[in-house]
Amino acid sequence: MDQTTRLFSPSRPGVDLLIRGAHVLDPRAELDEPRDILIRGGHIAELAPADSIGADGRLEVVEAEGRHLFPGFVDPHVHLRTPGQEYKENIDTGTAAAAAGGYCAVVAMPNTNPTVDSAAVLGSLIELARREARIPVGFLASVTRGLNGGELTEMAELRDLGAIGFTDDGKPVVSAGMLRKALQYQRLCGGIVALHEEDPELSQDGVMHEGAVSARLGLAGIPSLSESNMIARDSALALYEDARVHFQHLSAAESVAALAAAKEAGAHVSGEASPHHLALTDDLVRTLDSRFKMNPPLRAESDRQALIEGLRSGVIDCVATDHAPHALHEKEVPFEQAPMGVTGLETAFPALYTELVMSGELELATIVERMTAGAALYGLPTPRIAAGEPANLCLIDLEARFVVGEDGYVSRSANCAFHGRTLYGRVLLTLAAGAVAYRRPVLVRGEDDRAQAAIGADASEASR
């Protein structure tokens, strides 16, 4: 099966568009300068020095001087809540939120109701994605049936049907013996095995990071080694079975060290970190606001620094949002009762840009590279800005400032850990698989004048 065919969306006509004068940054293409980009039929037809391509009368032109154009982001870890919890999110709203965050592809997790553990469920999801996805979506199926940790799914059949790989995300595969069988079976069917690492015996009924803040609040803590112990265990299994394993949402300094050691030992492993773990700490839980409750939890500043260093050095391979929508009534309860999870697709880039790039901790190019690196890890095509490539692009105004949530969210849910924060970096336009997936709506407000100008002639069309 061709890897591009493991991503699903309606087939849309390719767009014709000239994006003029944007600062184009694609670290893999060694592009970091103003360029004109001509898109014909959904493919990049021409890349030329700024202001060198003239517009003919029929072509839509986006005047983008002063804005930045990046390859579209790829998120290997989102929860679209479909089937079963469409009141939190569905394929339409979840992929619309992704497009609004500059993403051109996302990978959905299988912990739905029912679980994506059979050809029937996966098949119906693929059909749904082909009808309503705003950007291409891929799916992981579960490692074990119903996430029960006890019986393997029909991994080969699920792969044949289009599963990118397998995960019991939301839960660890507790039994080392069960995971070992899945890794052995991977030799037959391929597909990445992605792991949510947590030792339930150490996590117990924990609801936040174990440390000074949990001591103050009287909340049960989740120690860091609940995660790092399991990463060490499963890295050893991956090495022994020569398997391909990806560790999801690293949160602790000890986990970064365990991943580095596994790579050093030659294990075929990779890891991701989320914007909330990279930008926020458990100090915020002092508010007892359930917007700061997720699993793994926000940890200490020393953990955050280790994650940033891991992302910089490449020990952590990519950024993943773990976008996990929950309805207001589910989150509007005392902290211990609230479900784990925060949304993140719409704020991933602005959060990382504001909190890590503007603060001088990471280079902009590093963020862009890590926000697109998930594709290759999952065997999907990496978005590139080069002539002949399909148009997977996002146009961002780094100087545009906004208050998160002020204008609501594109996602069906509002449980965003960055809610109320002032961030920089507005997504103005997203192209996914050659089609316009998102265009920032023009609002009647002074600060959006720049955005309006950027979107140019087409703004009036969008508002019709």
């Binding site: 174990e210 440390g211 000074a212 949990s214 001591a215 103050r216 609040l217 009287g218 909340l219 803590g221 007892l288 009534h329 509007e332 309860v333 005392p334 902290f335 211990e336 009762q337």
Partner: protein, 310 residues
């Protein structure tokens, strides 16, 4: 005094030292009322206090009820058993329903940290935290400080040991904050399984043995719940008692003993110690009503009363 009372009492952190002193000074005057034959003042006449208890409670709920009644408030008591809470109503819906009665104050006890703070966001009433999970129990800490202040005049440089299950104790957390704010030196002591990592961040010292208990002026003993044994926090209550029970073999005659109640006789405290003059347990219970009257008074008096009906 110029310092302003907060609108709610959720945490000891809502009060600085002068705020605590102001409540305690007010409590002194209400303690005098409690000594009268007619134990009632008209301060809250015509106003409503709702006691919303999601956990079993004897002394806290009865003392809040008495405190409100002695201030002449109308009191509504709601317990989770037998109420709409039992039928699955959310905390938010319950609070909004009760708020329709326009209460002046809602007193809430919940098994979950942060419940009182959430309630404060959903109602116009003043909210008093009567215990939220293992987080805080600020009125207990105030009555403990009141009891100690009466005995010692001041808590400055007083050496207080808090002994037992600190992990699961909201009383311990509020007491550490209140005692240190009033100038005391606080040490927490208990089995390492029941002392949270990094508890020192609250401003106390931590130790696993009673070796230096003789340095304490006051020993504040926490309740040891039987269920902790089943969760293997301690192997047996027998072993716990052997290591941590406060009794007359371990006490110097000048040391005083406190306990938030209810006591497990023969576990954390010996029966003889409970009944000895060194124990301040009865004084704590008595202080509870006066201190809670003071909290309600300070939060409510001065907020607008419906003038039209008068």
């Amino acid at each position: 005094m110029t310092n302003r009372m907060p609108r709610h009492l959720i945490s000891i952190d809502d009060l600085d030292r002068s705020g605590i002193e102001r409540v305690l000074d007010r409590a002194e005057s209400f303690a005098e009322v409690s000594g009268r034959e007619i134990k009632k003042v008209p301060a809250l006449r015509g106003r409503t206090v709702v006691n919303l208890f999601y956990e079993a409670s004897t002394r806290t709920s009865s003392s809040f009820e008495l405190a409100a009644k002695r201030l002449s408030a109308d009191v509504v008591n709601i317990r989770s058993a037998g109420s709409s809470v039992d039928k699955g109503e959310s905390l938010k819906d319950t609070v909004q329903t009760l708020s329709a009665y326009d209460p002046a104050a809602i007193v809430i006890r919940s098994p979950y940290a942060g419940a009182a703070q959430l309630v404060a966001g959903w109602t116009e009433a003043a909210v008093v935290n009567a215990g939220d999970g293992k987080h805080e129990h600020p009125t207990q800490a105030l009555l403990d400080v009141f009891t100690l202040r009466r005995r010692f005049g001041s808590l400055d440089r007083l050496n207080i040991w808090i002994v037992g299950d600190v992990s699961h104790s909201r009383v311990a957390r509020s007491d550490i904050l209140a005692f240190t704010r009033m100038g005391a030196d606080v040490t927490v002591c208990g089995p390492p399984t029941l002392i949270p990592r990094e508890i020192e961040a609250l401003g106390c010292r931590a130790t696993a043995t009673l070796e230096h208990i003789d340095e304490a002026d006051v020993i504040y003993v926490l309740r040891m719940q039987h269920e902790r044994m089943h969760q293997s926090f301690v192997p047996t209550l027998r072993e716990y008692a052997a290591r941590y029970q406060i009794n007359h073999q371990r006490l110097r005659p000048e040391q005083l003993v406190m306990h938030p109640g209810p006591v497990n006789r023969g576990v954390e405290l010996s029966a003889a110690t409970i009944d000895s003059p060194q124990a301040l347990i009865g004084a704590q219970v008595k202080a509870g009503v006066a201190v809670r009257m003071a909290v309600l008074y300070e939060l409510l008096v001065g907020s607008p009363v419906l003038a039209a009906v008068a």
